[in-house]
């Protein structure tokens, strides 16, 4: 425990020092060093716990009414901490390159690095907090710090709006979370998660179901599940690349952590909870995936794919819940193991993709697909990192996304004897997952093809070149992780085994061991196949392209038909790539088209602008503005001095209060 407290203190101290009036470079140095040291200190206890050492608990005396603060580091928290901390550090390293031009200005960079430190502090609080107050406190630090990081470019109104949008959404989530905590507190008269768990596992019923729904809503908002995702694309597009990367890959995984934590506390979930999670997640994956197709802003596209990927992890958790409620250990191991592994894998490849997007932005100052092109030759490292991440995010072998999705598929097509209808329904879910995979392959091909291949579409943009080494290094490390976890997925499984065993703690030890061992075998096989595929591809490509007797190609122009292009703008665009597909889902993806057709004999000013907007956000805003008008109307019509109105309002209030009391207490004493 002491190491964790030490890590928190180091981070806070680093954050404080970052704010001193010193050179920006020194501030950044302090921030990075404190992050690195804190990560190493925390690792010294986190890694052993993750690999099976007993839990670490700690207490800290605190004043009434909060009472003593309890901390506990178990395998689940250790799993999340083990990669969240170093990835935040890497984000800091990336920030040095990304913020390069501000180092010599009067802009205070220390705040930025201090906030990154606070993000790490919030991880330590949330992932070890046993007391609700520390948990909520960490939750809130993360939300505020992330908000402040998002509005780095605050003079821009759009950025401020995106930040505010995020701030409001995350606090709506907090309301649901607090509501759930209040219900649990009235039942247990305790602040401790353990006591909550105790009560929940003994009292299945309406109230527990309500708590579950409230929590899923709150965590869904945090992790940007559909339909709670509308803040996400804006925030990701507005934030600096490393902040988007950290938010999408690392910070918002806290929602999934909390979800798994509460499932763990729940004991044995009801069957409907598993199905509910699966359906909720499938919808997220489908809609998130579909939305990636229409985007022309690369960072928005990647933002939507977060919604898709939390959905995929959520499907895994749903299978795990079903396994718990049916007492099928194999499903628990595959579901939770696969889901958690997907969380880890997503952190690796999503950060990598955002970092690549940041490199493009750094060099070209835009991330608009339709203006870029041909970057692969100028930025080969970025291009390779992007396509590796892209293949991984489409869950294709030989990279890591495939390993985790394979586990989830193994759960969906289980050989265990569960009901035929359940099997068929899971088969439908698998088909939906296959659809999502194909859709994300489509949008990654589109993004990579338009940005990195062909020729540059806009000559007014600066020349492309490779971005700074500070940015390439973190991206490269993530790419290595993506490849390693794909070829040796057992590494990832070793990290996931602890928390998965925790979720299976009610089952006999032998059963748990057998099932974990079988997942190890599955992943070893997948790793071997992925490795063999990667190796054979490498060998054949080397033999055909690079070896001594490889044929030397002749160079010539692209096949002339339709390409003897007078302007590179005539290349295939992102919009043309996606229009056909998007048109089939026009009810979900709202395509706004503004155009002015050429008219007259000498047409001049004509244009077509298409934009794929978020239908949830659109409807939300239209409902809010309608509601606003209705309320204004109503208040204008009402005469406030009318006693009948006052009495009926008072009566209605009494009825509502009575109903709430009845709902909370069952029957009146």
């Amino acid at each position: 425990m002491n190491q964790l407290i030490l890590a928190v203190l180091i981070l806070m101290l680093g954050a404080g020092l970052c704010l001193l009036p010193i050179r920006n470079a020194t501030r950044a140095g302090i921030g990075l060093v404190s992050q690195a040291v804190a990560t190493l200190v925390a690792w010294s206890v986190v890694i052993p716990v993750l690999l099976g050492a007993p839990d670490i608990t700690g207490e800290m005396p605190w004043a009434y009414p909060i009472g003593d603060l309890h901390f506990r580091l178990d395998a689940l928290g250790a799993f999340f901490l083990s990669w969240s901390l170093p990835m935040t550090f890497l984000g800091g390293v990336y920030a040095v390159g990304y913020m390069d031009k501000y180092f010599s200005t009067s802009r205070h960079l220390g705040v930025h690095f201090a906030l990154l430190n606070m993000i790490s502090v919030s991880f330590l609080l949330v992932y070890t907090g046993e007391h609700t107050v520390t948990f909520l406190f960490g939750w809130e630090i993360a939300a505020l710090a992330a908000w402040l990081l998002v509005i780095w470019d605050y003079p821009n109104e759009k950025v401020r709006f995106a930040g505010f949008n995020y701030l409001v959404s995350t606090h709506i989530g907090l309301i649901f979370l607090v509501a759930a905590v209040m219900i649990l507190y009235t039942r247990t008269h305790s602040w401790f998660l353990d006591d909550f768990g105790d009560w929940m596992s003994r009292n299945p019923g309406t109230l527990r179901n309500t708590v579950f729904l409230l929590l899923v809503t709150s965590f869904g908002l945090k992790s940007a599940f559909f339909p709670f995702h509308s803040w996400l694309p804006r925030a990701h597009a507005a934030a600096p690349a490393h902040v988007s990367a950290l938010m999408s890959g690392v910070i918002h995984k806290a929602g999934l952590y909390a979800l798994v934590r509460f499932i763990l506390l729940l004991g044995k979930p009801d069957e409907w909870m598993g199905w509910f999670l699966i359906v909720f997640s499938v919808i997220s994956a489908l809609v998130g995936g579909l939305y990636t197709v229409g985007q022309r802003d690369l960072k928005r596209l990647l933002g939507y794919s977060s919604t898709e990927n939390v959905g995929i992890a959520g499907i895994g958790f749903g299978i795990g819940c079903l396994g718990l409620s049916w007492d099928v250990p194999a499903l628990v191991a595959l579901g939770f193991g696969g889901g958690l592994l997907h969380v880890l894998n997503h952190a690796f490849f999503k950060c990598q993709l955002f970092y690549a997007a940041g490199c493009v932005y750094q060099v070209k100052h835009v991330v608009d697909l339709e203006r870029l092109g041909g970057l692969a030759k100028l930025m080969p490292i970025t291009a390779i990192c992007f396509i590796v991440g892209g293949i991984a995010i489409s869950a294709l072998p030989p990279f890591n996304g495939f390993a985790s999705e394979f586990m989830i598929y193994s759960g969906l097509f289980t050989g265990e004897s569960i009901g035929v209808w359940a099997k068929l329904t899971l088969g439908l879910v698998a088909a939906a997952l296959a659809f999502v995979g194909a859709v994300s392959a489509l949008s990654i091909t589109r993004a990579f093809g338009v940005i990195f291949l062909g020729n540059s579409r806009d000559s007014s943009l600066p020349e492309g070149r490779e971005a700074s080494r500070w940015m390439l290094l973190p991206m490269g490390i993530h790419a290595v992780g993506t490849i390693m976890l794909g070829v040796v997925p057992v590494l990832g499984l070793a990290m996931v085994a602890g928390p998965t065993a925790l979720l299976m703690r009610t089952m006999p030890v032998g059963v748990v061991a057998v099932n974990l061992q079988s997942t190890v075998e599955i992943l070893t096989r997948i790793g071997l196949i992925s490795g063999a595929l990667a190796l054979s591809i490498g060998l054949v490509v080397w033999w055909r392209l690079k070896s001594k007797n490889a044929p030397q190609p002749m160079l010539n122009a692209t096949w002339g038909c339709g390409y003897g292009a007078p302007t590179p703008r005539m290349q295939y665009t992102g919009a043309s790539f996606s229009t056909d597909f998007a048109a089939r889902f026009k009810n979900i993806m709202v395509l706004i088209k503004r155009k002015k057709a050429p008219a007259g004999y000498f047409p001049d000013d004509s244009y077509v602008i298409t934009d794929c907007v978020d239908s949830v956000e659109r409807r939300l805003y239209s409902v809010i503005s309608h509601g606003d008008e209705t309320a204004t109307d109503l208040s204008r019509k009402m005469q406030e001095d009318d006693p009948r109105l006052a009495f009926s309002a008072g009566l209605a209030a009494l009825v509502v209060i009575a109903a709430l009391v009845l709902l909370a207490e069952g029957v009146l004493p």
Binding site: G374, L396, P397, G427, M554, W559
Partner: protein, 308 residues
Amino acid sequence: MNIGLALIHWAIVLSMPIMLVGLVNRTKSWWVGRKGPRLIQSAYDLWRLLGKRPVVSTTASPLFRAGAYVVLLCGLLAASMIPLLGQFAPLQFSHDFVVVAYTLGLARIVLMISAMDVGSSFEGMGAAREASFATFAEPALFLLIGTASAATGMTSFADLIGHLHNTPHYAIIVVPLTIALLILLQAEAARIPVDDPMTHLELTMIHEVMILDHSGPELAAMQYAAALKMTLYAGLIAALINPFNPLTDPVAGVLVSLALMLIVAVIVGCIESLSARLPMRWVPAYLLIASMAALGSMLVIGLGASGV
């Protein structure tokens, strides 16, 4: 593992692409009253291409040439897991069908990327069509597997297909499943009515337009990989229908499978001769028929198990 069967499996995988393409072309020639090319004509074509020096676009990156070999290798890896002969595949383990689908997915994404690499609008168009039609085709395969999985309780591809013959509703579900697989074959192997390999108008092509700029050995790899894909789906159809288990009855199993694959090629050729390509906008609806057929068989399994 049964080494003899594995050798036969590989012999079929390597030789049938040539034969099937030849047979489809022969059938089409026969319908229009020509004699048609030799059955192994495509082997000669591939051989000729292998000896040529490739011409590469100045716009292309190294991914362009590498892509062709990735596509071929992925096809071969998938071939080692697909039970062409029935209840047998050289590489067989639980949930291998996911690896099959996703390996072919990797081949597809690499094919699309190498198409977009040359910058031509036509090739981008082909890639966009391939990508969007794949999204409609992919679920059908998983629904089909879901049906077989629920019916048999098995987890590996070969067992799923093999044990399906012994399930009570086999006689009913074999029809929709065969239809689904045939539609998938037409989509994945770029045959009429989804795509027309013989067309010479870039605007209306899908697969051919994506490999417009490939030449020499790379073109050979792409063409062989496409033919291989057709073989794999034809083999799956054969395995679904073939009543002989290759493990207990190897001679009959292999011969019937071979015959069925050739019949599938003839059927594909007949369809190509007798019908025109669908308009692009109808293709998704056509592909949805495959999903619907698989869904229907799912329903049969579910209702059957409930005793209806």
